[in-house]
């Protein structure tokens, strides 16, 4: 097990290298000279200023050299300064990432809180009205764009009913209750799409398990329906669900780009969008590095969880 963990951890490094290099290459493939973009793509362009910018940010060097220079600094913990705001990327990311992680975690929990019970009920009452209702809701939720749902919730809960703030962010440390109130709408908007996917997975996995012989045996020996489902079926059905829930983290990060912009949450998604438009390479690279690391680590944790959930799985080979 330990050897397996170590090996998996070592595998994270080439994945990260590949991801950062691809993003680096893609950013340079987007039309628009970064130095010209930096100076405002226009009238105030001035040959002398352009030269200074190119030198300062190594833009005068070949692409692979630029990447290696960035990598060498990043490895020592220095992600450079934003080309747009001149702020240190590391400092900025530290602030922004904690916000996105808080939002993401909350959205993920809301998604799970809706999806798991709905999936179980759906499977147990297969083909009857609770199943139909849950399935229809899930199809609807997958089809809803998060930003539209967000706006509708802002209008209903923020303006018409006045129950929750329409936008903004309060740090958890400053005001825990206020922070939670600000997080509810964006987290629901973000979590609901992923809840639909998880719910469908929960349903089909549980159905498969419920059809197995040992479940029939359990019922035959007189165990009631719900103790059978919860005590015997659920744990075996959870493996594929955990996988999907792990993958949903990636989707939640992707969705946070839109939701953070809509709700004015100073997170990483919003930072990255702005940086892409401004061709702010150091910031884009920094965001990608953090998000990619987070997704890889979560996938890694998911794999380890398998072993915890299913004692038959051992990673010794």
């Amino acid at each position: 097990m330990q050897r397996y963990i170590l090996r998996r951890l070592a595998q994270l490094v080439p994945s990260l290298l590949l991801i950062t290099f691809m993003v680096f290459a893609l950013m340079h493939a987007i039309p628009g000279d970064p130095a010209r973009m930096m100076l405002g793509a226009g009238e105030q362009l001035d040959a002398k200023q352009l030269e200074i910018v190119r030198r300062e940010y190594n833009l005068d060097k070949p692409l692979p050299v630029q990447y290696v220079l960035w990598l060498a600094k990043a490895a020592s913990g220095d992600l450079g300064r934003s080309t747009a705001s001149q702020r240190r990327v590391g400092e900025e990311l530290l602030l922004r990432a904690s916000v996105t992680f808080q939002l993401g975690l909350f959205a993920w929990l809301i998604g799970a809180a809706i999806a798991l019970p709905a999936g179980v009920i759906s499977a147990v009452y297969r083909g009857r009205w609770p199943d139909m209702l849950a399935t229809m809701a899930a199809v609807g939720a997958v089809a809803l764009p998060g930003f539209w749902l967000g706006i509708m919730m802002i209008l209903l809960f923020g303006v018409t009913l006045g129950w929750l703030p329409t936008r903004g962010y309060v740090a958890l440390g400053d005001d825990p209750l206020g922070s939670l109130r600000h997080m509810i709408l964006p987290a629901v908007a973000l979590g609901i799409t992923s809840s639909a996917v998880v719910m469908r997975q929960m349903r089909s996995a549980l159905l498969e398990v419920l059809a197995q012989d040992y479940i029939r045996t359990a019922r035959a020996k007189g165990l009631a329906r719900w103790p059978t489902v919860i005590g015997h079926a659920l744990r075996n059905a959870m493996l594929p669900v955990i996988t999907v829930m792990g993958l949903e983290i990636g989707r939640i990060f992707a969705g946070s780009v839109v939701i953070e912009t809509l709700f004015g949450i100073p997170g990483m998604g919003r930072l990255m969008v702005q940086a892409v438009f401004q061709r702010d390479f150091p910031v884009v690279q920094g965001c990608v590095l953090v998000m990619a690391t987070a997704v890889l680590v979560i996938n890694f944790v998911t794999d380890i969880l398998y072993a915890v959930l299913d004692p038959r799985i051992r990673y010794d080979g």
Binding site: I30, P31, G32, D33, R36, M37, M38, L39, G40, A41, G42, E43, Q44, L45, D46, K48, Q49, I52, V53, R81, A84, S85, Q86, R87, E92, L95, R96, I151, I154, L155, G158, V159, G162, P165, T166, R167, G168, Y169, T261, L262, F263, G264, I265, P266, G267, R270, L271, Q274, F277, Q278
Partner: protein, 527 residues
């Protein structure tokens, strides 16, 4: 300074004030003055764009002004029509009569927020800082007429000029005329960008990246209102970044914001509304303009350029896309409300018969294929569809090339990829800014770099004097050429709308000459 970048252009769309609008504003202004302002309170403002920088000199985005205007004073301030206004300026008076130099007499007893005295040496430091290419100052190009700066005495500063600088007073009312504390600039280095220190009515108290900027009252501010009361009235201002206009409106209605810009589609909801005041600024930008590359086929032929301009009906676009809230352009690129605006110049207007005639004159009576550059937005995308249909009616087949705004700007002006660009423009009431950027042979927005000796000579003549009557005559001639021969044909002027609950006072004075928000004189009425 024109269309500084994409971000700026987007702001433009929402922005705008003058002409008939300014009369209304003045009348309301008189009424508001009757009430005695109350001190205290916090004003919460929503604005679409986060600041790219707080230091006015290095910021690139037009949206930055919504932040830095609150904590700076201009060396030479201007009223909404861009007439210099000494009473709110750091210079008490100026002498621009000598084409070789400009002299400014500075206000006495003004301190930067850090206690550094504001004087001639500080002005010299600021101008030299922005002229140094290593500063990467945004307004550097606008200051290239300056050869050197002399601090004649504590309160008299002289700019020694390489060539005449007719737009000096307008230029000092923009970024380059905002003064930074020399002590703070030297002490902070790169960190200064988000911790600026100036002389204005508010000080920057807090900057939270991606969220908001908080300003607090400058207790030692020199400014007084007309009744002699010390400014400012408010204790605090928070400018929040709220990207989505729908959310801005929702936040205002939920009572979480005190002042927002109103998108065109929402204006009807705030008109004659018992709960909110709304004010507008006509000509806050050029909402839609046809920018031509006059050297690129097929639009290197003037007749075909005119055919395109005559075939487009801005009235239909205004109705369908702008809810009838924009203004049909009657002049050129200096919009309504600026002294250079001249609606009497002959210009191409919607006329299908004329459009067909010009097609024949251009040798393409059955039309032609045309590539057009476009950047997508809630307003631009439907507009382009309407234009495509209108041009299709005379046989011109429009192929749209769509890129995100900064890229489209670069690809049109620098890459010369298409003969026409459908875009919008910031409010640049100083005609020399647009003239030297769009019409001069070396102007960045002269995409084909067409060399026109007539225009170059006129632009030099306009820049050579500070006499407004003389300059007005010059820019009329520029308009006659560029509109008559279709170099750049504005179709719609924008109108900027701002709304606030009724207890928010001072909204009559909220728009500056650039149609951006000035919160210096706002106050909150306690019920």
């Amino acid at each position: 300074m024109a269309l500084r970048d994409g971000v700026r252009r987007r702001t433009l769309l929402k922005a705008s004030l003058l002409g008939a609008g300014s009369t209304v504003l003045l009348a309301r202004h008189g009424r508001a003055q009757a009430e005695k302002p109350q001190y205290g309170g916090k004003l919460r403002v929503a604005y679409q764009l986060a600041p790219g920088a707080l230091d006015p000199v290095v910021g690139r985005s037009g949206g930055d002004a919504y932040y830095w205007r609150q904590f700076v004073d201009q060396l030479v301030d201007a009223d909404p029509a861009l007439n210099p206004r000494a009473s709110t300026s750091l210079a008490e008076s100026w002498d621009v009569s000598d084409p070789k130099k400009v002299e400014l007499k500075l206000r006495k007893g003004v301190l930067f927020h850090d206690g550094t005295p504001f004087n001639a040496e500080a002005v010299k430091f600021n101008v030299e800082r922005l002229l140094d290419p290593a500063t990467k100052a945004t307004p550097r190009a606008a200051f290239t007429a300056v050869d050197s700066v002399t601090a004649v005495d504590e309160h008299l500063v002289r700019f020694n000029l390489k060539r005449p600088w007719g737009s000096v007073l307008s230029t000092l009312a923009d970024r380059g005329g905002a003064m930074n504390s020399p002590t703070a600039v030297k002490a902070m280095g790169a960190d200064y960008i988000f911790k600026p220190v100036s002389t204005g009515p508010f000080k920057v108290a807090e900057y939270v990246s991606g969220s908001h900027v908080r300003f607090v009252r400058n207790e030692k501010y020199w400014g007084r209102d007309a009744a002699g009361n010390p400014l400012p009235y408010l204790d605090e201002i928070v400018v929040n970044t709220v990207s989505d206009p729908t959310v801005q409106v929702a936040a205002l209605k939920a009572g979480e914001m005190d002042l927002i810009y109103v998108p065109y589609r929402e204006v009807g909801n705030f008109e004659n509304n018992p709960t909110y005041n709304m004010r507008k600024f006509d000509g806050g930008g050029i909402a839609l303009t046809l920018q031509y590359n006059t050297m690129k086929a097929p639009l290197d032929d003037m007749n075909l350029r005119l055919a395109v301009a005559h075939a487009i009906n801005p009235e239909a676009i205004n109705k369908a896309v702008y809810f009838g809230r924009a203004i049909i352009a009657k002049g050129g690129m200096w919009p309504t409300g600026s002294w250079a605006y001249d609606p009497t110049v002959a210009r191409p207007t919607y006329n299908v018969a004329k459009a067909r005639e010009y097609l024949k004159l251009g040798g393409k009576p059955n039309g032609f294929e045309l590539d057009a550059m476009l950047w997508p937005s809630e307003l631009n995308t439907p507009t382009a569809e309407i234009i495509r249909a209108q041009l299709g009616a005379i046989g011109i087949k429009l192929n749209l090339k769509v890129y995100e705004v900064t890229v489209a700007t670069e690809k049109f002006n620098y890459g010369q990829e298409t003969p026409i660009f459908m875009t919008s423009w910031s409010r640049y009431p100083e005609p020399d800014w647009n003239a030297s950027l769009i019409y001069r042979s070396d102007g960045y927005y002269n995409a084909g770099k067409r060399k026109d000796d007539r225009l170059d000579a006129l632009i030099d003549a306009g820049a050579a004097t500070a006499d407004i009557a003389k300059r007005k005559a010059v820019y009329r001639q520029v308009d006659e050429i560029v509109l008559g021969e279709a170099h750049m044909v504005p179709m719609l002027y924008g109108v900027t709308y701002a709304a606030a609950p009724k207890h928010v006072m001072g909204i009559d004075e909220v728009f500056g000459w650039d149609a951006k928000m000035y919160l210096h004189r706002m106050w909150l009425k306690k019920s």
